[in-house]
Amino acid sequence: MSTVLLAAQQAGELKAGLQSIGAGIVYGAAAIGPGIGIGLVVGNAIQAMARQPEMQGTIRTTMFLGIAFTEALALFGFVLFFLAKS
């Protein structure tokens, strides 16, 4: 009897542990692509601003747009992190 209870308890702990690992991997993996993407967007925007300082305003607006679209993927991962944990 007690071994059955112990096994059940261990299974529960195992499930919680695996859930935590899964949640961690979800967010970590979701952050890779957007990290690279935002780097590319901002880097190229800075280059464009340095080449044509008079276009700074337009470039900055477009840069924020690009960041927003790229960042959305990472944030989906952030939400999935909470969904996977609970």
């Binding site: 337009t58 924020f64 747009l65 927003a68 960042e71 959305a72 944030l75 989906f76 952030f78 939400v79």
Partner: protein, 258 residues
């Protein structure tokens, strides 16, 4: 000896679920989130109406701030992004910007320190409003061409429509409103969790360490100060980005070319 060893973080619900203050148990229950929303709405009304009532030729400080905000929305967002003929959208975009900004900024106001935008109700509802508005605008000004222009973009080989059309459909009807809401929510939520974690670490290091080892609390405390400054930037940026994306979707609904 526990330096920062046995620190446990409270469950997420503890940080975001507030107890009802008034009318508890009814659908109209008021908790801290609702109260902050009501207060910020009142503050925006007082600021904008009070600042634009006198229209002095030499503006005072309040009128100056109000006029600068209007200029910023009208020039920087409406005319640049929606289009030069779209000044009628400035009141909507300005209200959106100020509302989100005032709600976000509660995150760093001492003693209150909770952004109401970190609960799904508010960003979700704002995104729903924008969703209905841009679809209505698109169908009203372009008719059915709004849909076909999006689902079958010109200049794409016909065989590729098998791939492009479903993606564009999901993008137009699902990803846009969802990402609009989630972007604001997740940014404010992450900021709130980060600030709470650093504050709790500081308190834990102060209370659980003996004597001179209390010095270790300096680390998380300084980090907390720095992150608070960063969160002010994030509050402005998220309000700006939400308004900017709304403007992009509206401009796309008004003029097919952009």
């Amino acid at each position: 000896m526990p330096l920062l060893g046995a620190f446990t973080f409270p469950p997420i619900d503890e940080l975001f679920r507030w107890k009802d203050i008034w009318f508890a148990g009814t659908p109209l229950a008021i908790n801290k989130t609702v109260l902050l929303v009501l207060i910020s709405s009142a503050l925006i009304c007082i600021l904008m109406i009070g600042g634009s009532r006198k229209k002095a030729l030499r503006p005072g400080p309040v009128q100056n701030v109000v006029e600068m905000t209007y200029e910023f929305i009208d020039n920087g967002i409406t005319k640049d992004v929606v289009g030069h003929d779209a000044t009628r959208y400035t009141p909507f975009l300005g209200t959106l910007f100020l509302f989100i900004l005032f709600l976000n900024i509660w995150e760093v106001i001492p003693a209150l320190q909770f952004p109401p935008t970190a609960r799904m109700g508010i960003p979700g509802f704002l995104a729903l409003m924008v969703y209905v508005l841009y679809l209505y605008t698109g169908f009203r000004y372009q008719g059915f061409k709004y849909l076909t222009g999006h689902l079958f973009p010109p200049g794409v080989p016909i065989a590729l429509y098998i791939l492009v059309t479903p993606i564009e459909f999901v993008q137009l009807f699902l990803v846009r409103p969802f990402s609009l809401a989630v972007r604001l929510l997740a940014n404010m939520m992450a900021g709130h969790i980060l600030l709470t974690a650093l504050a709790l670490l500081t308190a834990y290091a102060l209370t659980h360490n003996p004597g001179i080892l209390k010095v270790i609390a300096v680390g998380p405390f300084l980090l907390n100060v720095g992150v608070t400054g960063f969160e002010i930037l994030v509050a402005f940026l998220q309000a700006y980005i939400f308004t900017l994306l709304t403007a992009v979707y509206l401009g796309d609904a008004l003029h097919p070319e952009h």
